[in-house]
């Protein structure tokens, strides 16, 4: 398969410095790249695993940490039982291991302070990861930008970054969290218990001081299709909607 990386290869070794279980199926891994890089909120890295016989598997993972956060690059990886790379991380990877990664990558699904707001973020499952980087970036950089995050999870216990998000929501500083649980009743009065739809999007937009300047949607392909249609149904112009699809 792939030849040995050439000297100018953009792949580099990164050391896992910390591992923390986030939900029953999602674990965060912090990486210290040998050549540190600056990223933008919303970008991803490619990860490459190599077997002794040279076989390689590579996948993309969004960066969850804010650009200005110290402590390395956080990836939050959901375990797919019949997958190849995500079970490796959950079952095998340990602090101190070196993993090859490449990045930061992606020049479209990004939010910078200069892009302004208000912004509407819509995430399904692990699709919240790049949105989390945007939320954290906003918290650290410019709280004047109004942000609403609609986050769809199956269960309350599967809400990745739940305590942190609720903590940010409780500050009432212009960040609004809307959780929607698809297989459980809502736990907070402002939350929902159904799949995203146009009415939910319209109500999320009402929480913003004015119409969103940009909307970001991330998750599985089916989720992104449904959520983007819901946004259009709520009157959001297609041209301001950016999507990132994680595949099947």
């Amino acid at each position: 398969m792939s030849a040995e990386p050439s000297p100018q290869s953009p792949w580099q070794a990164a050391t896992i410095t910390r591992i923390e279980k986030r939900t029953p199926r999602v674990t965060s891994f912090w990486f210290r790249p040998s050549r540190p890089f600056a990223h933008l909120a919303g970008q991803h890295v490619d990860v490459r695993l190599t077997a002794p016989d040279g076989y390689q598997a590579r996948r993309s993972y969004s960066i969850a940490s804010a650009p200005e956060a110290g402590g390395g690059v956080e990836l939050a990886i959901e375990r797919l039982d019949d997958g190849e790379v995500s079970p490796f991380f959950h079952d095998v990877a340990a602090v101190g291991d070196e993993i090859e990664l490449r990045g930061p990558l992606g020049g479209h699904f990004i939010w910078e302070e200069s892009d302004g707001g208000p912004i509407l973020l819509v995430g399904g499952g692990s699709g919240v990861v790049p949105l989390m980087a945007m939320v954290r970036h906003r918290t650290l950089r410019n709280k004047a930008v109004p942000v609403a995050l609609v986050f769809s999870a199956r269960l309350w216990d599967e809400v990745i970054f739940r305590d942190e998000l609720i903590g940010l929501d409780d500050r009432r500083d212009g960040f609004d969290l809307v959780l929607t649980l698809t297989r459980e009743p809502a736990r907070r009065p402002s939350d929902y218990s159904r799949r995203v739809d146009a009415r939910m999007m319209a109500q999320a937009i009402e929480r913003l001081p004015k119409a969103p300047r940009l909307a970001y949607v991330c998750g599985s392909n089916a989720f992104v299709s449904a959520a983007a249609d819901a946004l259009i149904g709520a009157g959001v112009p297609a041209g301001i909607i950016r999507t990132e699809r994680y595949g099947v």
Binding site: A13, E100, I241, R245
Partner: protein
């Protein structure tokens, strides 16, 4: 660099190994990737325009375009997100036949494919002609679904699949190699899967 503890892996069967470019894995499904919501383009509203710079050379509506000679291509396709799918069957109009119907030879060495949603991608003109590329109208014998770029998408199977612009509505011949949507956002100007030309920093 061998990864500690990574032994498993879905090694492709040896008879197909040679068909999988470096860094790719074999996918049975057909993942969807796009920068924005799926445009729903009605065939009543569809048109296809050949342009040189800003000047239109010829324009077809849906019926006119479907009346052009139709060809079939069954090809392996390679997405920059690392999946490869074998034997995808397409039907549509070869770029050669579009040019013939317009009565022109390619006027410049570079082309930008243009889409209804504002997306664009650059392809050298020589990679579109001589039987290499088509505007596809059918996949597996059926109209291409909106998620996969229907009613019509470009098909340039020998380059990474982002070059096969979805919801295509025209080709614009350009004097210079002008970067398109993803090429302006870090992707490679050419995108040969066999040379792993994924990102702009790749050789």
């Amino acid at each position: 660099m061998v990864t500690r503890g990574f032994f498993s892996g879905r090694r492709p069967p040896s008879d197909t190994d040679a068909r999988i470019p470096p860094g790719q894995y074999l996918e049975q499904g057909f993942p969807v990737l796009s920068a924005g919501p799926t445009p729903r383009v009605r065939t009543e509203d569809w048109s296809f325009t050949l342009k040189q710079g800003p000047n239109p050379l010829k324009k077809w509506n849906w019926a006119e375009f479907n009346a052009l000679p139709q060809s079939k291509m069954t090809r392996d396709i390679h997405c920059v997100t690392a999946w490869t799918k074998f034997n995808t069957p397409w039907q549509g109009v070869m770029i050669d036949d579009i040019l013939a119907d317009a009565g022109i030879e390619p006027p410049t060495a570079y082309t930008l494919a243009l889409s209804f949603d504002g997306y664009s991608t650059n392809v050298p003109t020589k990679d579109l002609v001589a039987g290499k590329a088509m505007v596809a109208l059918l996949y597996e014998g059926k109209p291409i679904t909106p998620d996969h770029g229907g009613p019509a998408r470009l098909l340039v199977p020998h380059l990474y699949f982002w070059k096969s612009a979805k919801w295509v509505n025209g080709l614009q011949f350009t004097e210079r190699d002008e970067p398109g949507f993803w090429e302006l956002r870090g992707y490679h100007m050419y995108g040969d899967p066999w040379r792993e030309q994924r990102y702009s920093s790749d050789p």
